[in-house]
């Protein structure tokens, strides 16, 4: 029949399984997100390279407001550092209450990130009208997608923070690690998109 070792009955609940499922699920989300980002990258490069009817950037618009755009990149980095500290504390087996402060700090910067990026899109100004060429179209849509991803990751952070501090479901090491992975990925994409939109107009 089989030469595999058999194990006793009642082993259905593998304690490591939920962590493994979350880790694999998180990596799969990163894979799907990569295709979405490549879709926008393809649109950006394709429309820029072809410049159909001279419509790529007819108004010669430059990148988004520089200082605000840089602040919008800094906030998620600070949030990431705080999330990473939470993850490290979890890995070290820190007590539940001892990570509360770090979690609140991380959550504050996560909220700040969303707020700044919303403000950034509001400050794009009249030149960044969607009818002003495909450079604006792709850039605004891409910034919008990144904003949506920061908001989704922020909501997930909120659910973990609230569950932890209220004692309903303490955050696990796998959750904190997956959150760091997601937040890192979106932050790296935000940097890449900023560089592309700023320097490849």
């Amino acid at each position: 029949m089989t030469d595999l070792p058999t194990i006793g009955p009642g082993h259905a609940t593998d304690p490591a399984e939920p962590s493994r499922t979350l880790t694999v699920g998180s990596r799969l989300v990163l894979g799907a997100n990569t295709t979405l980002q490549l879709t926008f990258l393809f649109a950006f490069l394709y429309l820029r390279a072809n410049n159909f009817a001279g419509g790529w950037n007819p108004g010669g618009v430059s990148g988004p407001p520089e200082v605000l755009a840089l602040v919008a990149l800094l906030a998620p980095v600070v949030a990431l550092v705080a999330l990473w500290a939470v993850s490290n504390a979890m890995k070290r087996g820190a007590a539940r209450s001892s990570v509360n402060g770090l979690l609140w700090l991380a959550f504050a910067f996560v909220v700040l990130t969303g707020a700044i990026r919303i403000f950034l899109m509001y400050q794009f100004g009249s030149a960044w009208n969607l009818q002003n060429g495909t450079y604006i179209d792709v850039s605004v849509a891409w910034y919008g997608v990144i904003l949506a991803e920061f908001i989704l990751a922020g909501l997930w952070t909120m659910s973990l923070v609230m569950g932890h501090v209220r004692g309903a479901s303490p955050i696990t090491t796998a959750q904190s690690r997956a959150l760091v992975e997601q937040w890192s990925y979106i932050t790296v994409v935000a940097f890449a998109v900023y560089a592309l939109v700023e320097f490849v107009t």
Binding site: L28, A32, T39, S169
Partner: protein, 638 residues
């Protein structure tokens, strides 16, 4: 006489549970409220703020209305309860609440509310897919009725194109989940020795996204329809009226469903397998689901991105696909087919899995070339991402790129051929039992072979130039998807239904039905191959008079095909619902682990997950794939 104890009052059910029981009704109310809110915001606020069309029939109003109607539907069904309670840090569901949501306790109500039992979801998928395939099939009957004459007789050109678009898009929606939806969800956890899926709520979400998607698409007939067909090509999509918005939201929802379903299936197969079941002994159907899930996960985001861009074009007058504004219809073609070509393998790879899974049962021999078959499916999956530009051969693709895409497309026939060899090798010198599922598998092999042959002509640049956009393409596509996937679907329904419902639909009438559907299917599409070679363009309501005899032939066979499909549905309803015919636990004497479980399958599948696994096709020695120990008591009812 003994004293009768006073009856204790039944404990009151919590409000959340009572609301769950009315999930579908609340979902409908939620969708109406959501639509009205979205429509009002889109029509007035957004349109006013961005100085766009602010009439009540604006694209912004319709698109936001549809989007919020889907959100309202899901909220009414109860999909937001869990995330909101997590956001507020409330207590996690108790074991009892989880068991209730999983469908413990039985009853028909499980099928009309949010349930996390993969078996219930599998049956929900089956019913919904058959219902929508029936509607799409009715569309095909109307199309063939119109094409009985060379000039418009029943419909005008606009409504005919909407009909063609509705038929094709609805069929594509449903085909993407036709096998994975019912059978993947129902059987994958069982086949890998798991008690549940990795993300059960996500699994329920993938199903409950489909009804709003289908209904939103169908609602296009009330707002003018769309003329682009299922491919939604720009600039026609930009020029269409608000009926196009149904297509965009419907396809967007389907894309989300495909992607999430892929994620859930992969996570389930990789992390929920019984600890002693290695990948190298998984049933080949599970392998086909794994390959398909990767395709869905990685291809669907391209569709979602493309649809988002088109939505912005239609609401905020961006110009992604408008040449005069710097955009390009080729951008849509590229993004759409980057999703669209893997999409056709999302249809057919699970069908390969069904064929290879069922063959050993009816040949009573081990599957010939198990690992080679897996390799074939993985090869098809990998290559499917490298062929999409063959759809652009005649649209202005750079000539220097044509040889590469011609080569990569022709290359895909190698792994496909390998899968065929596995099927033929399994039948070689076997004493085949020609039960009804086996007949449908035979039909699949014949039809898909013709589909494959005709595909070679379309991958070849010179012949594609003359055949493109003709009925030849349409017939090729139907040979692969209807002759392939739908025949495999019918085989799977007949084969798996006894385990899913405890009732059998197998009868001698079903064998007659197979021959009817096989003959009429081939009669229809061989006629259409011929009219295609003679130059009849697809999606045209008028055609040259000399093509009428072949069109009449195609239409008459198509009516027979429609009748024989209705026959199949009739037998299914009669034998499962009206006059149920009980089935035995192991109807086909299969060695698969799913057939070692009692029927109906217990709520959590296994009490003790099997610990020793063999290859599931050891018909030489007759060893089952695994020995199933004790299981929880079976739940009554289907």
């Amino acid at each position: 006489m003994d004293a009768v104890a006073p009856a204790r009052p039944l404990p009151a059910r919590p409000l959340s549970r009572r609301l769950y029981e009315w999930g579908l009704l609340l979902g409908v109310i939620g969708s109406i409220v959501g639509f009205l809110i979205g429509w009002a915001i889109g029509s007035v606020a957004i349109a006013y703020s961005f100085d766009t069309d602010n009439s009540l029939g604006s694209d912004a109003g319709i698109l936001l209305g549809y989007a919020l109607s889907a959100v309202g539907f899901l909220a009414g069904m109860g999909f937001l309860n869990y995330p909101i309670s997590r956001l507020l840090g409330r207590r996690m569901p108790t074991a009892e609440e989880k068991a209730y949501q999983h469908g413990e306790g039985g009853g028909l109500g499980r099928y009309f509310r949010l349930t996390t039992d993969h078996k219930v979801i599998g049956i929900q998928y089956l019913v919904m897919i058959l219902a929508f395939l029936f509607i799409g099939g009715m569309g095909a009957m109307f199309i063939r009725s119109e094409l009985l004459t060379p000039t418009p007789s029943v419909a005008n050109a606009q409504s005919y194109l909407t009909l063609v678009g509705l038929h094709s898009t609805l069929m594509i929606f449903m085909a993407s989940a036709a096998i994975i939806g019912p059978f993947g969800n129902y059987f994958v956890p069982i086949m890998i020795g798991s008690r549940n899926m990795a993300f059960p709520r996500l699994e329920a979400l993938t199903f409950w996204l489909l009804p709003p998607a289908g209904l939103i698409l169908l609602s296009t007939v009330f707002i003018g329809g769309f003329t682009t067909g299922w491919t939604g090509y720009a600039p026609l999509s930009d020029q269409n009226a608000i009926g196009m918005d149904s297509y965009l939201i419907g396809f967007g929802l389907i894309g989300i469903s495909i992607g999430l379903s892929g994620l859930n299936m992969i996570a389930t197969i990789l992390t929920k397998r019984a600890p002693t079941l290695p990948l190298s002994r998984m049933p080949i159907f599970v392998w086909s689901v794994l390959v398909t899930s990767f395709l869905g996960l990685l291809a669907a985001p391209a569709l979602i991105g493309a649809v988002l861009m088109e939505t912005l074009d239609r609401t905020f007058q961006s110009t992604f696909y408008v040449p005069s504004g710097g955009g390009s219809p080729y951008l849509w073609e590229n993004l759409f087919w980057f999703f669209g070509h893997p999409e056709v393998y999302i249809f057919i790879v699970p069908a390969f899995g069904i064929v290879m899974e069922l063959l050993p049962v009816f040949t009573r021999r081990p599957l010939w070339g198990y690992r080679v078959g897996i390799g074939g499916m993985v090869g098809v999956g990998l290559l499917s991402f490298a062929v999409w530009q063959h759809h652009l051969f005649v649209s202005g693709l750079a000539p220097s790129l044509r040889p590469f895409y011609m080569f990569s497309t022709e290359l895909i026939s190698v792994p496909t051929g390998i899968i065929f060899l596995v099927a033929l090798g399994s039948m070689w010198r076997a004493r085949v039992r020609f039960s009804t599922p086996m007949l449908f598998i035979g039909g699949f092999l014949f039809n898909f072979l013709i589909g494959g042959f005709t595909g070679v002509f379309l991958s070849d640049v010179p012949s594609d130039f003359s055949l493109h956009a003709s009925y030849f393409v349409q017939a090729h596509f139907h040979y692969t998807i209807m002759g392939g996937e739908v025949f495999a679907l019918m085989a799977a329904i007949v084969y798996f239904l006894p385990k899913m419902t405890g009732r059998s639909m197998d009868t001698k009438w079903l064998k007659y039905q197979f021959w009817a559907v096989f003959i009429t299917f081939n009669g229809t599409f061989i006629s259409l191959i011929a009219v295609g070679i003679l130059g009849m363009p697809r999606r045209a309501i008028s055609y040259a008079a000399y093509l009428q005899p072949l069109n009449i032939s195609a239409s008459l066979f198509a009516f027979g095909l429609g009748a024989s499909m209705a026959w199949f549905l009739g037998i299914l309803i009669w034998k499962v619902i009206i006059k149920p015919t009980p089935a035995t636990d192991n109807t086909w004497q299969s060695l698969g682990v799913e057939w070692q479980l009692p029927t109906p399958v217990p709520v959590f599948n296994y009490d003790d997950v099997p610990t020793a696994w063999a290859l599931p096709y050891d018909y030489d020695t007759g060893t089952p794939a695994a020995v199933v120990g004790s299981a929880s008591p079976a739940m009554s009812g289907v």
